[in-house]
Symmetry: C2
Subunit: 258 residues, 2 copies
């Protein structure tokens, strides 16, 4: 491999056989060597789950000059951890990309995202990291129209880097509903899910529940948020971190408890 | 049920048959009615994973005046979601408690925590929420010595409430190594895991990996962090939120991309 070309690690939560990851691979190969570590099974909604209680295997799918692809029998977080710590021991990645997820990771829902877990692992290992998600949920969604936007973000991040411990959550609205009007840097809407379950009767008796739900925005008129601009057909970029401490309330909690 | 007594929802990631959750139940019953929704199977390391692709069932384990307990066939986040949205439809909880986890949820590791997922669901549903974790990992760990500390925090939170959208991550060091010296309000250490995998040979051929690792603190001398004080045998309380936006870098990312 030519050490002057950056090495780009790509993962996702859908698996290797989705269109989204191949759009990322295609764009990334224009700028660097590519190493893929994708889950062997669909892993939507897995958040930052890790495999503590079962062994993880890596299966080499493809290897040629400048391109290596593995399927990993674990979660999205496992994929990036295993790639960085074991599969890429000879050369560490210069960048982690995740996605393109089939479906948004916007607002509070990004908490459940395996795609976001990939980029959290990236920054935890000190590697600049960007997640991409597309507002069409179907497996067969055509992600080719997203590629110019992916390229625009990728080029800038490769040229200029990212602030330490900050990753990007990029969401792209459906091209099937019209052209994307532009790019906005946003905050994550802090809304919530309601009507989260549908109760059903089992034919043999007993009840079970399917997860479902409606998203309620925290504030529909807050023009800082990802959801505000996605609704208006802009792509959004939310800078994210993994510090869960609420620094603003340290004083209040000290007063409360001490 | 007496509506004047608060209703306390309790969950965890270990399951109903661990000592930790029964310590929480015992203390909570002194102050309110208790509703338990615990995972039917051990769910460590599940983060905020949700069950998108399989149905979830709830099994009533126990019901008597002021006490109801269910086992739920899903993740910790599923348990709290299902409890609040379906199982507790008649009366919403006044407080969510999670734990006592068998093992710390400190530093960056709390990202992987199913215990923390419970309290994130709590605050997402507008309910004050507190997670408790104990620095002894074994299933049989005696959590009775933690109970006075649990009671101290619980009383204050019931009396005074918590700031909106803020939950508490309480960690308690092992009593087996001496008394707890006091309580500190802390930040979460932003270190990282290294040596994360152990590679093994399968007897039939091929390789597999077990997750393992060593935690490297971001700064061993930072006396604001949970890990600094847990090492010095203090219990720690870290206020946490679910806003993953890195507000401080919005300007820098705008300069980078726009």
């Amino acid at each position: 491999m030519d050490d002057k070309r950056p090495l780009i690690l790509i993962s996702n939560d859908d698996g290797y056989h989705y269109n989204g990851i191949h759009s990322l691979i295609k764009v990334a190969q224009r700028y660097g060597d590519v190493f893929v570590a994708a889950p062997a099974e669909h892993q939507s909604g897995k958040s930052s789950a890790i495999s503590l209680d079962k062994p993880v295997k890596a299966h080499l799918v493809e290897k040629r000059e400048g391109y290596t692809a593995y399927e990993v029998s674990g979660t999205p977080a496992d994929c990036v951890k295993l790639a960085i710590s074991q599969l890429m021991k000879d050369r560490q990645p210069d960048l982690v990309l995740a996605g393109i997820n089939h479906g948004y990771n916007m607002g509070i829902s990004s908490l459940y995202s395996g795609t976001m877990a990939c980029v959290y692992e990236g920054i935890m290992h000190g590697v600049p990291s960007v997640a991409f998600s597309y507002g069409v949920f179907t497996r067969s969604a055509d992600t080719v129209p997203c590629e110019p936007l992916v390229e625009q973000v990728l080029k800038r991040v490769l040229e200029k880097g990212l602030p330490k411990d900050v990753c990007l959550n990029v969401n792209i609205p459906p091209f099937t509903e019209g052209d994307v009007k532009g790019l906005k840097v946003t905050t994550s809407d802090l809304g919530r899910w309601v009507n989260e379950w549908e109760k059903r009767k089992h034919p043999m008796g007993g009840e079970y529940y399917w997860m479902t739900g409606d998203y309620e925005m925290a504030d529909e008129n807050d023009d800082c948020t990802d959801m505000y601009w996605l609704k208006r057909h802009y792509a959004t970029v939310t800078p994210c971190h993994i510090d869960q401490t609420d620094h603003a309330s340290i004083g209040a909690i000290s007063d409360l408890l001490l």
